[in-house]
C-alpha cells in the first residue's frame, strides 16, 4: 500500500516539477540580459496549450512518429523513477540499476532520433545525426562517471553509490557531469535552444515537424531529463547521508536550483561553440570523469 502511494507521489513530483527548470533558466538569462523575460511558469502554459491543439502530420510519417515521443517519455520517466531522491531513497534499488538508467536514456535517444527521421526532412536528419554522434562521447563520460562512483563506494547500485561523498575527485566529477548535462540536454555551448537557425541546432531541429500533444510530450520529457541530470549531479558530489530529512531535502533543492542557475549563467555568458569544437569539449568532460575515477581509485587505496 505504502509502496503504491509512494509510487504515485513520485510520479506526481516527476510530472509536475520538471517544467519549472527551463523557466528558471530563462529567468536567469533574462535577468543577466536586463530583460523582464517570460514568466517562470511559461513552460506549463505552453504544455497545456500544446496538449489541446491539433496535429499536422507529415505525409511520410509512420505511426512511429507518434509512438516515438511517447516511448521516449516513458523511458526518461522510468530512468527518473530509478533515481534515488536524497533522503527518500529510491523506489526500487538493485545491483546494476545504474546501467538500466543509462540505457533507458539511450532508449529515449533512439526513439527521438527515430521520430526525427520519419519526416524525411534533411534538417531533422542533420539534428538526429548530431544527437546520436555526440551522444557517443557523452556516453563514454557517463560510463566513466558511473565507474568512478562505483569504485568510490564499492557498490553497483544507485542508492549506495550516491551515499558517500566524493572527496577531492568531487570537483572533477562535478565539472565533467555538468558538461555532460549541458551536452545531453542540448544547452549552450553545445546547442542553442533559443536560436532560429536550423543549421546550428541539435535537439530543437529534431522536433521541427512535431506539433500538438506529441510536441508537448517531447518538451516535458526534455525538462524531466534536465531535472534528472541535475539531481544526479547534485547527489553525486554533495554528501546528504548525514543530514536530517528537511535539511537533506533543502540541500537537494538548493543544489538543483544552483545547477539550473549555473546552466542559465553559462547560457548568458558563453556563445555556442562551433560544431568542430564540440567533440573537444566532450572529450574534456570524459577526461575530467576519468581523472575523477583515478582519484577515486587512489583515494580508496590510501
Amino acid at each position: 500500500m505504502m509502496a503504491s502511494v509512494e509510487f504515485i507521489v513520485r510520479i506526481g513530483l516527476w510530472f509536475l516539477l520538471p517544467p519549472l527548470l527551463p523557466g528558471i533558466v530563462n529567468r536567469v538569462k533574462a535577468w543577466v540580459a536586463g530583460r523582464r523575460g517570460p514568466p517562470v511558469l511559461q513552460l506549463y502554459y505552453d504544455l497545456a496549450r500544446l496538449w489541446r491543439k491539433g496535429v499536422v502530420l507529415s505525409d511520410l510519417a509512420s505511426p512511429g512518429f507518434i509512438a516515438g515521443p511517447a516511448v521516449a517519455w516513458v523511458a526518461v520517466a522510468g530512468a527518473a523513477l530509478l533515481l534515488p531522491l536524497g533522503p527518500l531513497g529510491s523506489l526500487l534499488s538493485f545491483r546494476g540499476d545504474v546501467i538500466l538508467l543509462v540505457y533507458l536514456l539511450a532508449l529515449a535517444r533512439f526513439c527521438t532520433a527515430w521520430a526525427a527521421m520519419e519526416t524525411g526532412s534533411s534538417f531533422e536528419g542533420m539534428g538526429a545525426a548530431r544527437e546520436v554522434s555526440y551522444a557517443v562521447l557523452a556516453e563514454a563520460s557517463v560510463i566513466t562517471a558511473v565507474l568512478a562512483l562505483s569504485v568510490q563506494s564499492g557498490s553497483v547500485s544507485l542508492a549506495r553509490m550516491m551515499e558517500p561523498a566524493v572527496g577531492s575527485g568531487g570537483v572533477l566529477l562535478a565539472a565533467g557531469l555538468f558538461t555532460v548535462l549541458l551536452a545531453e540536454n542540448c544547452r549552450v555551448p553545445f546547442d542553442d535552444p533559443a536560436t532560429h537557425l536550423e543549421l546550428t541546432m541539435i535537439h530543437e531541429v529534431m522536433v521541427l515537424d512535431h506539433s500538438g500533444p506529441p510536441l508537448a510530450v517531447i518538451l516535458h520529457g526534455a525538462s524531466m531529463k534536465l531535472l534528472l541530470y541535475a539531481l544526479l549531479l547534485v547527489q553525486a558530489v554533495v554528501p546528504l547521508g548525514g543530514l536530517s530529512f528537511p535539511a537533506a531535502v533543502a540541500v537537494l533543492a538548493g543544489g538543483v536550483l544552483a545547477v539550473t542557475v549555473g546552466v542559465g549563467l553559462v547560457e548568458s555568458l558563453l556563445a555556442r561553440f562551433a560544431f568542430r569544437r564540440v567533440p573537444l569539449l566532450l572529450t574534456t568532460a570524459f577526461l575530467l570523469c576519468l581523472f575523477a575515477l583515478l582519484v577515486a581509485w587512489n583515494g580508496g587505496a590510501a
Partner: protein
C-alpha cells in the same frame, strides 16, 4: 525418452533431408523442422535440469571411437542452432523458392541440412578428430551456401575469401587438437585442467576459433561473406556459425588450462573488436555489410564477458566472473536471435527492392509495414536497449565488469577500459541502427527502388515474428531463464552461484517499461486522433517543393562519426564539384574500404605470393639442376648427420 534417441532422430531427419531435400521441398521442410525440434527438445531437457548426456559408440570412425557428449554448454548452442536452423528453413521456402531459383534452390536445401547437422556434430563431438571432421564439413557446407547464387557478382570472391580464412583457422585447429592429442596421448576430449602443459595451446585455439567467430582483426572474411550470401544463409552464418567459434573458445577455456594472459587478451581483444566493429558498421552504406560488422561488435562483447569470466576464475571464483560468463552466454542467444531476425528483414528488403544499398532505399514502411516493425524491433534489441533481450545480456556483462572494478581486484585494470569501450560501442550501435532503420524504412523513397516493393509473404514474416518473440522473452523474463543459463555456465568451470536478486528486479522493470510504453503510445495516439489530425507535406522549415533527394543520406548521417574514425576507416572519396555559371553534372562518391583486408591482409598475401614466385624460379624443368638439388640435399643431410654423430 532420453537424449540419445532424440538426437538420433534429429541426425536421421537432417541427413534424410540432405538426401531427399532437392527433390521434395515440402518433405524437406518437415524433416528440417523435425530435426530442429529434436535439437531443441534434447537441449531443453539438459538445460531444464536433466543429466548431461554422454555416449561412446561401439564402433570407430576414422580409427577413433565415437564419443558424443551433450552438456549444458553445448545444449545452449544446440538449441540456438535448432531455432535458427528451423526458422531459416521456413524463411527460405519463399525467399529462395524453386520458382525463382530453379537451379540453386534444390542444392540450397540439401546444403542447409548438411550445415545444420554438421554444426550439431561440432557441438556434440567429444573427440578431437571428429570435432575437426564436423568442423570441416560445416565450413564446406557454408562455403557452398555462400556461393549459392550463381548470378551474384560478389559471391564468388567472398566465398574464396571465406574459404581461405576458414582454412587458415582450421589449420590452427589442426595444430590445436594434434597438440592436445600428442600431450595427452588420446584424441578424447574432456576436462583436463590439471595438465598444465596444455596451456600454450590456448593461443592456437584463440586464432583458430577467433577466425571463425570474427574477432577483430580476424574478421576479414566476415563482411563480404555475410553480405554476398543469400539472406537466410547470412542469418545462420551470423546467428549460429560464428557462434561455433565462440563455442570453441568457451568450451576449451573451460576444459583446458589457459595461460595467465588469456583473460586479459580476451577482454581487450573483445573490447577492441566491439569498438572497431561498430565504427565500421556505422559507416557502411550496404545494409547487410552493416549487419555483418555489427556481428563483429557482438562477438567482441561476448569476448569481453568471457575474458572477465576467465579473470574472475583466475582470482578464485568471484561472483562477478560468473555473472560475466552468464551474460556472455545469454548474449550468444540474444545476438543470435536478433541478428537472424535482422538478416531476414534485410533479405525481405532485398527481395522486395533488389538492392542492399541503403542510399537507394527509403520509405519502405508504407509498403512493408510488418517487415519495418520487426526490423525496428530487432534494431532495438541488438542495440542493447531495454526492455529487450540484448540489454539483459549486456547488463549482466556490465555487472561483471563493474563488480571487478568496485571490488578493486587486479582485474579492474582490464574491466574499467572494457566497460568504457562497451559504453562507446553501445552508443555507436544506436547510431548505426537509427541510420539503418531510417534510411531503409523511413522518409521518402530515394531513386524509385521502393516504389514497386511489396510486403513479404507470411512464410517470411512468420519466422521473423517467432525470433522477435523469443528475443522479447529474454528481455522481459530473464529470471525464469536464469537456471538454464546457470546450468550452461556451470558446465564451464563449475557452478556460478544463485541468481542475483537484481535479475528478477531487472525483468520486472523491463516488463513494466514495456507495458507502460505500449500504454503511452496508445494514449498519445488516441489524443492525437481526438484532437484533430491533418496530413500535409513535411514542413522542414517551409520548403515548397521538397524532393526525396534532399533527404539526409546514410553517408551524411554517419559523416561525423566516420570523421572521428577516419584514421582507421580511411574513407575514400571522389568528387566533381559544380563549376562555372552553368555547371554540368556534379557528383560525389564515397567508399569505406575493408581497411584490414585491403591494407594489411592483401599486402601480406601479395608478399607471400611474390616470395613464392621467387621460389618458383628453382623449378624450371632442367633435369640436370634437379639432380644437383638432390645431390646437394643429400650432401647437406650427410654433413648434418656427421656433425650430430661426432660428439
Amino acid at each position: 525418452m532420453t537424449d540419445g534417441p532424440i538426437l538420433f532422430v534429429a541426425a536421421a531427419a537432417l541427413l534424410l533431408g540432405c538426401l531427399l531435400g532437392p527433390r521434395f521441398p515440402r518433405l524437406w521442410i518437415a524433416l528440417t523442422l523435425a530435426g530442429a525440434a529434436a535439437f531443441i527438445a534434447a537441449s531443453a531437457h539438459i538445460l531444464g535440469g536433466g543429466e548431461p548426456w554422454e555416449w561412446r559408440g561401439g564402433f570407430s570412425v576414422g580409427g577413433e571411437q565415437l564419443h558424443l557428449r551433450l552438456d549444458g554448454l553445448s545444449a545452449l548452442f544446440l538449441a540456438l542452432l535448432g531455432v535458427v536452423g528451423g526458422a531459416g528453413a521456413v524463411y527460405s521456402r519463399s525467399y529462395w523458392s524453386d520458382a525463382q531459383y530453379p537451379r540453386s534452390a534444390p542444392r540450397g536445401r540439401a546444403l542447409w541440412s548438411a550445415l545444420v547437422v554438421s554444426m550439431g556434430g561440432v557441438l556434440l563431438a567429444s573427440n578431437g578428430l571428429h570435432f575437426l571432421l564436423a568442423w570441416e564439413a560445416f565450413v564446406l557446407a557454408a562455403y557452398f551456401l555462400i556461393i549459392l547464387d550463381p548470378d551474384s557478382a560478389g559471391a564468388r570472391p567472398a566465398g574464396w575469401l571465406y574459404l581461405a580464412a576458414s582454412h587458415a583457422g582450421t589449420l590452427c585447429l589442426f595444430g590445436f587438437f594434434c597438440g592436445i592429442a600428442s600431450r595427452t596421448g588420446s584424441w578424447d576430449l574432456g576436462p583436463m585442467r590439471d595438465n598444465a602443459g596444455l596451456a600454450p595451446l590456448f593461443w592456437l585455439g584463440l586464432v583458430g576459433f577467433g577466425l571463425k567467430a570474427g574477432l577483430f582483426p580476424l574478421h576479414v572474411w566476415l563482411p563480404s561473406g555475410h553480405a554476398s550470401a543469400p539472406s537466410h544463409v547470412s542469418a545462420i552464418l551470423s546467428g549460429v556459425m560464428i557462434n561455433m567459434g565462440v563455442y570453441g573458445l568457451v568450451r576449451f577455456t573451460g576444459w583446458l588450462p589457459v595461460p595467465h594472459e588469456a583473460g586479459w587478451v580476451l577482454i581487450f581483444g573483445g573490447a577492441v573488436s566491439a569498438l572497431a566493429g561498430m565504427a565500421f558498421a556505422v559507416s557502411q552504406t550496404d545494409l547487410k555489410r552493416l549487419l555483418a560488422y555489427c556481428t563483429v561488435e557482438n562477438v567482441g562483447i561476448i569476448g569481453v564477458g568471457l575474458g572477465a569470466a576467465l579473470l574472475g576464475s583466475e582470482q578464485g571464483g568471484t561472483s562477478w566472473g560468473g555473472l560475466a560468463l552468464a551474460g556472455a552466454l545469454l548474449h550468444v542467444w540474444s545476438h543470435g536471435l536478433s541478428k537472424a531476425l535482422l538478416f531476414f528483414g534485410a533479405g525481405s528488403v532485398v527481395h522486395a527492392t533488389g538492392t542492399r544499398d541503403m542510399s537507394r532505399l527509403g520509405g519502405l514502411w508504407k509498403r512493408m509495414p510488418k517487415t519495418a516493425a520487426l526490423f525496428a524491433f530487432g534494431s532495438v534489441a541488438i542495440s542493447g536497449l531495454p526492455p529487450l533481450g540484448g540489454f539483459v545480456s549486456e547488463w549482466m556483462i556490465y555487472l561483471g565488469l563493474l563488480g571487478a572494478a568496485s571490488s578493486r581486484s587486479p582485474a579492474a585494470w582490464a574491466a574499467i577500459p572494457a566497460a568504457i569501450l562497451l559504453g562507446i560501442s553501445g552508443a555507436l550501435a544506436l547510431a548505426a541502427f537509427v541510420k539503418a532503420c531510417s534510411a531503409v524504412f523511413l522518409g521518402a523513397s530515394r531513386g524509385g527502388t521502393s516504389d514497386h516493393a511489396h510486403e513479404s509473404p507470411d512464410l517470411m514474416i512468420g519466422p521473423m515474428a517467432a525470433l522477435a518473440a523469443l528475443g522479447a522473452v529474454i528481455g522481459l523474463a530473464p529470471a525464469p531463464l536464469w537456471p538454464s543459463i546457470a546450468r550452461a555456465a556451470g558446465a564451464w568451470r563449475g557452478p556460478v552461484g544463485p541468481m542475483p536478486w537484481a535479475v528478477l528486479a531487472l525483468g520486472l522493470c523491463n516488463l513494466v517499461l514495456a507495458g507502460l510504453a505500449l500504454v503511452a503510445a496508445a494514449l498519445l495516439g488516441r489524443r492525437v486522433r481526438d484532437g484533430g489530425l491533418k496530413r500535409a507535406p513535411t514542413w522542414s522549415c517551409g520548403y515548397a517543393e521538397p524532393t526525396a533527394r534532399m533527404q539526409y543520406t546514410v553517408g551524411s548521417f554517419s559523416g561525423i562519426i566516420s570523421g572521428w574514425f577516419s584514421w582507421a576507416l580511411r574513407p575514400q572519396g571522389w568528387s566533381q564539384r559544380p563549376r562555372g555559371l552553368f555547371p554540368a553534372r556534379a557528383h560525389r562518391f564515397e567508399r569505406i574500404p575493408e581497411t584490414v583486408l585491403e591494407d594489411a591482409v592483401a599486402p601480406a598475401a601479395l608478399g607471400v605470393l611474390q616470395l613464392s614466385t621467387l621460389v618458383r624460379r628453382l623449378q624450371h624443368g632442367r633435369l640436370r639442376f634437379y639432380i644437383l638439388y638432390i645431390v646437394a640435399g643429400l650432401a647437406g643431410l650427410g654433413i648434418l648427420t656427421a656433425m650430430e654423430a661426432r660428439p
